[in-house]
Each structure stands twice: as C-alpha cells, then as structure tokens.
C-alpha cells in the first residue's frame, strides 16, 4: 500500500467527515457523510480487507445514507440545524482529540510497518463466519430482525389519528 493513496484518502475522508459534522444544511451533511464512508471503505481496501470495505459502502452508502435522507424528508419542518451549536461539546471533543493524539504519539510501539499477509479471500471470511462465528452471526440476524420490527412499530401511525 503506498502512502500517496493513503494521504489522498485520508484528506478526502477527514474533509468529508468534517463537512458532515459542520455543514449547516442537513442534506449536505448527510451526503458528505456518505462520502466520508466511501473514504473509510477505501481505507479498508488499502488495509487489504476488500470485503469489509464493500460491505461498508453497501451498508452505509446504500442503506444508512438513504435512510438518513428519508428521515430528513419526513422531518422536513426543520431541515436547517436550529439553535446555535453547543460550545462546551466542541471543547470536550477537542480535548478528547488532544488526549487521543497524545496517547497515540507517545506510544512508540505503534510505529511499525505492515507485515506481508496472504490475501483475505471472501471464501475464507465465509468459512470463518460459518464455523467460529456462527453464533454471533445468528445473534446479529436476530438483532437485525428485532431492529426491523422495532423500527416499524416506532414509526407506525395508529389508525385513529393517522
């Protein structure tokens, strides 16, 4: 993996994320959120986890982003971010950032290069999913079903008022 790609992707991702966090218009924020996630997927590609990257794009750009824009449409009354941003929150976030950065930089053990690995094929992932991680897989399936039903119940309009 070459550093040029890394730099490009990093700049893209962080810029998009910052835009998602700070743009005044919700729609723009949501779209740049999607871009940020594409960037993260690119990172995964760079790290040799193509499958995860594809899943990332698939889930976030294909599903979550669309969901978000749908929500924005359904709560259309205030698409503008009402109220002034919360100063304290910003300060805390920056403090956390500083702390993390400091912690990462002071640990010298982290400055290592990537070892050579055999490519992580989809076949292998599938095998592991179906053997070692089969119970987590089942649980996630259950969770998703529950989330689906729960979401439906939450947004269901009861007849007498709807």
């Amino acid at each position: 993996m070459n550093s040029a790609a890394f730099v490009v992707i990093a700049i893209l991702t962080l810029a998009a994320a910052l835009a998602a966090a700070s743009l005044p218009k919700l729609i723009h924020a949501a779209l740049s959120f999607a871009v940020a996630f594409i960037g993260i997927a690119a990172f995964f590609f760079l790290l040799g986890a193509e499958f995860v990257g594809l899943v990332q794009v698939f889930v976030y750009v294909g599903a979550v982003a669309v969901l978000i824009v749908f929500t924005i449409l359904l709560t259309r009354r205030d698409v503008q971010d009402t109220g002034k941003p919360n100063r304290g929150g910003a300060i805390i976030a920056i403090a956390v950032f500083g702390g993390l950065l400091w912690a990462i930089l002071k640990t010298s053990a982290l400055s290592i290069a990537a070892p050579q690995i055999e490519a992580l094929t989809v076949k292998r992932i599938g095998g592991v999913l179906m053997t070692d991680y089969v119970w987590p897989l089942q649980c996630v399936g259950l969770l998703l079903t529950a989330a689906l039903i729960g979401a439906l119940i939450l947004v269901m309009e009861d007849r007498n008022e709807g």
Binding site: G62, F70, A119
Partner: protein, 395 residues
C-alpha cells in the same frame, strides 16, 4: 488461429503497455487501468449511441412507423445529431435549486453506472478489474445510484422531481432485495463472489449438448427471470418506469435537467441497463461461453455481446409492448411475490446441490419451485378481492 483472434484485445493491451515496461509497478497499474477505462468508455458509449438509435427504430417498427431515418444511412448518425443538439442547448439551473447537489447528481449517477461495468468479464481473460468480491462490488456501486437519484430530486427543488425521486428510490430499494438475493444461489453453487469464477463454473455441456449455464437448471431459470425483472425496475424501464411517468410527473427526478446534464442522465440509464444485462449474462447465461461446442471457435467476447444484445432487445421489446404499472402494484409485487420466490430459489439451489447436481436434483428443485409458486399464486389470488375504487382528496 481462433485463440489468437480470441485474445486479440489482450495482445493490443500488451502492446500499449510495452513503452512503460521498465516503469515502476504503480505506473504500470495506473496505465493498464487507464487503458481499461478508455476501452470500456469507448465501447459502451458507442453501444449507447447505437442502442439509442436502434431502440427508436425498433419501437418505430413496432408502432408501424419509420424510426429516425434522416441523418445518415438509415438514420444511423441520429445519435451524433442528438449529441450535438444536447451540447449546444442552454443548461438551465432553477433559481431556488440547491446548486451543488443539482450539479453533482448527474456526475455521480453516471460515474456509478460506469463503475459497475468494471467487474464484468467480457471475454476470456477480459475482465477489466477482477476483484475477489466482484458481485458485491457491483451491488455496492449500484446501491449508490439511489443516493444520486435522491440528489437529483432534492437538488432541483421541485415537487415533481422530489416525487419522482421518492418513487424511484422506493422501487429501487424494494427491487434491490430480489435482485441481490437471486444472485445468492449462483454464488452458493459456485462458492465464489468473483465473476470470473462464476463464468468458469459455467464451462462445459450436459450430455455434450446442453451448455452448463445456470439458466438451464430450474432454480437458475427462475432466478434469471426474477433477476431480469428486478433489473427492469432497477434501470427504471417500462413497464416499471413510474419514476419518470410523463403522464403523471413531468420527467421524475430529471424534470429540472436540460442540455448535457439530461443527456448524462439518459446515458447513465442506458449504461446501468447494460451493466445489469451484462451481470445477468455473467451469472446465468454462461458469460462468454459458447452455446454449442461446435461454435467455440468464435471469439468469446462475440458471444458475450451477442447475449447482451439479445437481452437489450428484450428490454426494448418490453418497452414497446407492455403498459405502465401502478406504483402500488409494483410494491406489492416486489414484497409479496419477488422476495419469497427469490428465497425459494436459494432453497431450490441447495436442494439441487445436495441431490447431486444431476437429473434428480433438477427435478427436485423444480418440485420445490413449483410448490412455492403454486402456494404463492393461491395466496396472492386477487381475483375476488377487487374493492370499489376509493378517491382521496387533499383536505
């Protein structure tokens, strides 16, 4: 002889790469990638132009009139004329539009459509970007289209556009499920997500005559039909073109687009169509394999494009034949029929596999499909459920 003809494009690429032979690795990669990209764009934009005029001519024939026949021989230069017209037209952007989004939407939609083309094997060793999770890549990119459509609808701040975008997204999401699930049986049977492996798995012939394509198995046939219908919806073609139903909402999410942006949308729609059909060919119709052993001397890419153009003709045929469906009919069809049938295809494929992939398996999976199909057709029998039509007015 035939081999050399078959691999002629590979040779050409090698020749083009020769000058940068000594260059570092990444330069090589970039060059070959660029070559692939330009090849793709060249081929498919030509095909787009060709199809756009052919469609008009075929539709014309179907409707007892001549299609375009003025520009050039048989009006074959019609697309050129259209292109020029589109280019020199004024590009109108609504005043209240969200400029950035409005501008980005066509670019994004075209980009995704073209990206999806990248993973399809067009011939022996002719996969532009062969990645391990090719199918997944295809759908991941395809799912981005919805966002682009939404951007178009939202960006051009217009009721019709918004409604059209909503309809488009709704039906795209609904039909993405059957579209993806119908690929599962193939992926399961082959045991790989990469298109190359899938095509390789469809090599050979039953009893030396019937090609090893998955469409020749019951589950394959069913999955292919479901896939094709979902593809129709995904590319917003008749009979599922409610998003741009001229009679209802002017042109759906493209209402506010004019000039070259509109052309881009138009192109994106066609290229998406090519991509879906190409994937269908790859998954079910044996990719670039020849239908009859005797005809294997014909180059592989020819076969691919023959199959592709047959599918495209069916698209056009459907457009010429079928009326437009209601949005609620489309939705019901998606959730109540397509999805269960898609899941059934998975089961049928599993049955086929465990019954030894032979004649027995063939019959068993046919039985599974038949049972479910009959059950569904009994359950969804709407003949006696015609309710009196109710009108709702805005209060």
């Amino acid at each position: 002889m035939s081999g050399s003809l078959d691999q002629i494009f590979i040779r050409i690429k090698q020749l083009l790469l020769a000058p940068v032979a000594g260059a570092p690795d990444w330069l090589m990669q970039i060059t070959s990638a660029l070559i692939n990209i330009f090849a793709l764009l060249g081929i498919f934009l030509t095909l787009f132009a060709l199809i756009s005029v052919l469609e008009r001519k075929i539709l014309g024939r179907m409707q007892n009139r001549y299609g375009p026949n003025r520009v050039g021989p048989f009006g074959l230069f019609q697309p050129v004329a259209d292109g020029i017209k589109m280019l020199i037209k004024e590009d109108i952007v609504p005043a209240r539009a969200d400029k950035v989004v409005h501008f980005l939407a066509p670019i994004l939609i075209a980009a995704t459509a073209i990206l999806a083309l990248g993973v399809i094997p067009y011939g022996r060793n002719m996969t532009p970007f062969s990645i391990d999770g090719g199918i997944l890549f295809f759908f991941a990119v395809g799912s981005t289209t919805e966002l682009a459509v939404f951007m178009a609808g939202w960006g051009s701040n217009n009721k019709f556009s918004m409604l059209g975008a909503m309809r488009a997204i709704a039906q795209m999401i609904s039909y993405e499920l059957p579209l993806i699930i119908t690929t599962f049986p193939v992926v399961m049977v082959v045991g790989a997500l990469s298109p190359d492996a899938i095509v390789a798995a469809q090599n050979g012939y039953w009893f030396g005559v019937v090609p090893h394509w998955f469409v020749t198995t019951p589950w394959g046939a069913a999955a292919f039909i479901l896939f094709f219908v979902s593809g129709l919806v995904e590319s917003n073609r008749t009979p599922f073109d409610v998003p741009e139903g001229e009679s209802e909402i002017v042109a759906g999410h493209m209402t506010e687009y004019s000039g070259f942006k509109y052309a881009t949308f138009f192109m994106a729609e066609y290229i998406g169509m090519f991509a879906i059909s190409g994937l269908a060919v790859t998954l079910f119709l044996g990719g670039w394999h020849a239908p009859i052993r005797g005809l294997e001397f014909i180059p592989s890419y020819v076969w691919f494009f023959v199959k592709l153009s047959i599918l495209l003709f069916i698209y056009i045929w459907a457009r010429g034949t079928l009326p437009r469906t209601r949005i609620d009919q489309i939705m019901n069809f998606a959730w109540k029929f397509m999805l269960p049938m898609a899941f059934t295809c998975i089961i049928a494929a599993a049955v086929w596999h465990y019954a030894g992939r032979g004649v027995a398996g063939w019959f068993w999976s046919l039985a599974v499909l038949g049972v479910v199909y009959i059950a569904l057709s009994i359950l969804l029998d709407t003949r006696k459920k015609f309710a009196t039509r109710t009108y709702r007015f805005a209060e």
